[in-house]
Structure formats: C-alpha cells, structure tokens
C-alpha cells in the first residue's frame, strides 16, 4: 500500500533514473539522490538496485 504523503513528495530525478528504477524495480521515493539539489541520478538507482540484490542474497 502506498501512503498518501509519500506519493505526494516531489522527487527530482533524471529521465534515465526514472526509466532504470522502473526497469529494476527500485522505488524511486526511497532513493537518496546525489545529483545537484538531491536529484536522483542513474548511478543512485544502480547503487540502490545493487543494494537490493545483496540484501536479497543475504536473506537466502
């Protein structure tokens, strides 16, 4: 379930980051951006996806 105030948050993200997030199943709302003014860049999504993978692996 998506909570209201979370989806209302304005996320600065690059077009590629958005596409990649969708593709890799990363919730962009949870990613901390390292670009100017906290913009979420593709590298941030990559890092988040890698993190998801390792934590999934750790859970096995």
């Amino acid at each position: 379930e998506v909570t209201q105030n979370q989806s209302a948050k304005k996320i600065l993200a690059t077009p590629v980051a958005r596409k990649m997030a969708k593709d890799l199943g990363v919730d962009i709302q949870t990613v901390i951006g390292t670009g100017p003014q906290g913009r979420v860049m593709k590298a941030d999504i990559k890092a988040a996806a890698d993190h998801l993978e390792t934590s999934a692996a750790n859970n096995l």
Binding site: K10, L12, T14, P15, G35, P36, Q37, R39
Partner: protein, 461 residues
C-alpha cells in the same frame, strides 16, 4: 469517391507536419491546400523574413567592417541590390516549399490543390468533388487584420499601406517607412528596414513595444532600436491615413508622419472560411480545442494559428503532431509554458516560460538572476555585447521557470533553456553544466551560478 483516414485542411506548418506524422503512424492522409504548401511560414512569414534579415545583418556588419580590420575603399557605393535580394528570397522560399512537396510524396500523402469546404465532419468538397474522411485536422492558419482607421483601406488598395506580405515584396529599396504596431513582427521589420538604411518610425498605442515580454527584455530591445536610429513613438492613437501620411494623436495634439510606405502590423485573425458548417466553438483567440487539439466536434481537430494559443510555426507543428498522435491512439499534450518564442532582431531575443511578473502573479516564490553579455569574452571578441540572460526560478526547489535571452545568437541559445525546462532542470543543474569557452552560452551558466550563489565573472551585482 476518395476516402481517407485523415484529411488535413491547410498545408502550413501545422497541417503538413500533422500529415507527415499521421502518415508515419500508418494513416492514409490527404492535405487540401488552396495556395502553396508551407503556408504563411514558408511562403510569406518565417522563411522569407529571415532570409531578408540575413542580408540586413551582413549589410550592417559590412558598414561596420573598418572596426574589424577590413577596408572597403568604395564604401559609399556599397548598396543593396534590391532585385538580387528579392530573387534570393524567392529562391530560398522555392527550395523550402519544394522540400515540403517532396516530403508529401515521400510520405505518400495526397496533396489536393483547391479551397476545401466542409459539408459535415466527414465530407469535404474541393474543386467540385467530394472527399470522405474518418477524421479531420483543420489547420487553416490566420490572416492579417487591418484595423479600422480612416483611409487605411484606400491606402491598401493604392499600395502605400502594406502588410507583412507587401513588406517582403517591395519593388525597390524604400527610403522611409512608418510601422503601425509594436509586436514581434513589427520589431523584426523595424530591424530589417532600419538596418537596410530605411528611415523607420514606429507608432505604438501603449507605452512600450513588445508588451507581452519580460520587462528587461522589452526595455533592452526598445533602447537598442532607438540607439540604432529607429524612431519609436509610444502612447499614440491612430487617427487617419491619407496618401503617405499617417495622422495620430500624441500628448493631446494631432501629429503626422509621412513616409514611402505605411506597414500595418496590428495582429492577425484566424481563418474560419470553409468550416462554417461544422459549428465549431470559437473563442476570443480562435477555434476552441481540448488538450489533445480536438474541437467540440468528435473527430475534428484544429491546430496552429486558427486555434491561436501562440501564433508560432513551431507551436502549429507541435500541435499538428499532438492531433495526429491523438487520432492514431496516443494521447500527448503540450505544456505551453515550455514553448520558446524568438525575435530575430539584432541582437536576437529568445524567451521561454514565465516572465518575472507572470511568475510572481502565478504565486511562485520567485528568484531572478541576470548576467550581462558585456562581461562575456566571446561577445567582446565578436564585438556584439548588447544583451543579457535573465533566469527566473522557483526558490523552493530551484526549478527554472523562465529564461530570457537577448544576444546575437539568442534564437539558437534558447534551445538549452527549452531542454532544461522540459527536463525540469534547476538552477543547480544549469550552474553545474560545463559550458564551452568562449561561447555566448556561458552567460546562462553564469546567471545560474548567480541564482545559486554568485556568478564568477561579475564585479558588481
């Protein structure tokens, strides 16, 4: 009886682009055009004016060439060869229009030459024949509006009063010209004729020219035109025209100005002939449409000047694409706050998005940053230092809301701002983007630095 998926009425930049897009998406398309493909823009608007302005700029530079280290001994004999100039204009127009003809063929679009009359939303009559279509895209454009001034109709018939079409088809180099109006087209013609050596007087109703633009922009252009020799008379009421003389009221007195030609540049009205049977809703600016360019009649779309959102060729084309996509099943739309507009004056103007005033009215927490061209190395090297960039941003996230550029290449420079607005870029992004040195575009980066904190290359703020 001929049968199409889409019939496009009007072959200007709205219509022909819609037709190409629709055909690319798989539709069987026809374009009905009563005059020349390319419409106002290619035949008597954007392209011929910019062709003439190219010569005007070169002529101006040439008269100033001593400063650049070039000696022209017979300078006093240098002159515009009006016939060659008009011929070049014709050649260029022919080429671009020929290009559109080729595009129609290449995209298997049937072009029907003639005036189209809509009988109903699915039937067009042209040259006595009936054509049937599933959908319609109307793109009939706009025409010059002559204001109601005593004597203007007569002057128009005699040829002393001209419109923009007359102005690009003069038989000889005019000695003097009075321009009625102070919009974009008026300013471009003032630039053109003044640079070519014509004595230009602009009569303006309000107290400023270009009244829809950001204040800093219109002030700079107005001041520059005056410096270059254009006489701008503001706060006037036009009274009457008689022969070559325009009578107007100013500061309570009746005055007059005489010139070879009187150019009426006082606005345009949508072309609504031939579509009366459709009973379309028409508003103050033109035919009313939803955000996908569909009119109140299902399956009937309208785009471009006849809709009148922004009377610009690239808007017409973008709307044409939206209409074609909507018919073919993809709903897109245009954010009119992200549409650039240009003036091909010397220096040029390129603007996009909110002006400072409008951004404040819209309720943003507005920040602005200005950087002058006079502090830019490339501008100094070029000897063209009049101008600036002004960035209007929202202080909340730093989002760039508007960019206003006055510079010799402003019309190409504004694309940077367009991409930035499209991508919801911030002043932080613009400041961080490395711009090449030495270029005029560095002023955008500098102004962005100024919006964030401080520009690098500025002494006092």
């Amino acid at each position: 009886m001929k049968n199409f998926d889409i019939v496009v009425l009007g072959g200007g930049p709205g219509g022909y682009v819609a037709a190409i897009k629709a055909s690319q998406l798989g539709a069987k398309v026809a374009v009905i055009e009563m005059d020349q493909l390319g419409g106002v823009c290619l035949n008597i608007g954007c392209i011929p004016t910019k062709t003439l302005l190219r010569t005007a700029k070169l002529y101006q530079d040439l008269l100033n060439s001593k400063a650049f280290g070039i000696d022209i001994p017979g300078m006093e004999h240098v002159e515009i060869n009006w016939e060659n100039l008009m011929n070049r204009k014709k050649t260029v127009v022919k080429k671009v229009v020929g290009g559109v003809q080729q595009l129609m063929k290449y995209n298997n679009i049937e072009v029907i030459n003639g005036f189209g009359t809509l009988l109903d939303p699915h039937t067009v009559e042209v040259n006595g024949e009936r054509i049937v279509t599933k959908n319609l895209i109307l793109a009939t454009g706009s025409s010059v509006k002559l204001p109601k001034i005593e004597g203007i109709e007569e002057g128009y018939k005699q040829g002393t009063v001209i419109d923009s079409t007359g102005a690009i088809e003069l038989k000889a180099h005019p000695k003097s010209m009075t321009i009625l109006g102070g919009g974009v087209i008026a300013v471009e013609f003032a630039t053109l004729f003044n640079s070519l050596g014509t004595k230009v007087t602009m009569l303006q109703r309000s107290d400023v020219i270009l009244k829809n633009l950001d204040e800093d922009v219109r002030n700079t252009i107005q001041r520059h035109l005056i410096n270059e020799g254009v006489e701008i008379i503001t706060n006037t009421t036009l009274k009457s025209i008689s022969g070559q003389t325009t009578y107007y009221e100013s500061e309570g007195a009746l005055k007059s100005v005489k010139s070879d030609f009187i150019l009426a540049s006082l606005g345009r009205v949508p072309n609504l002939k031939g579509i009366e049977n459709l009973n379309l809703k028409v508003g103050r600016k033109g035919v009313e449409v939803d955000s996908h360019m569909e009119t109140n009649v299902k399956g009937v779309y309208a785009v471009g000047d006849m809709v009148g959102k922004m009377m610009l060729a690239h808007v017409a084309s973008a709307e044409g694409i939206v209409a074609a996509e909507a018919i073919m099943g993809t709903k897109t739309k245009i954010d009119y706050n992200k549409v650039p507009a240009c003036i091909y004056s010397f220096p040029e103007v390129g603007v996009i998005g909110y002006s400072e005033e409008d951004a404040k009215k819209a309720g943003f927490d507005v920040g602005t940053s200005v950087f002058p061209l006079s502090a830019n190395g490339k501008a100094m090297a070029e000897g063209e230092t009049t101008g600036f960039v002004k960035i209007v941003h929202d202080k909340k996230y730093g989002e760039v809301l508007g960019v206003h550029i006055v510079a010799s290449h402003a019309t190409d420079m504004i694309a940077e701002a367009a991409v930035s607005l499209e991508l919801e870029g911030t002043i932080y992004d613009l400041a961080k983007t490395i711009h090449p040195h030495p270029t005029l575009s560095e002023i955008v980066m500098e102004a962005a630095h100024g919006a964030v904190d401080k520009p690098i290359h500025i002494v006092k703020m």
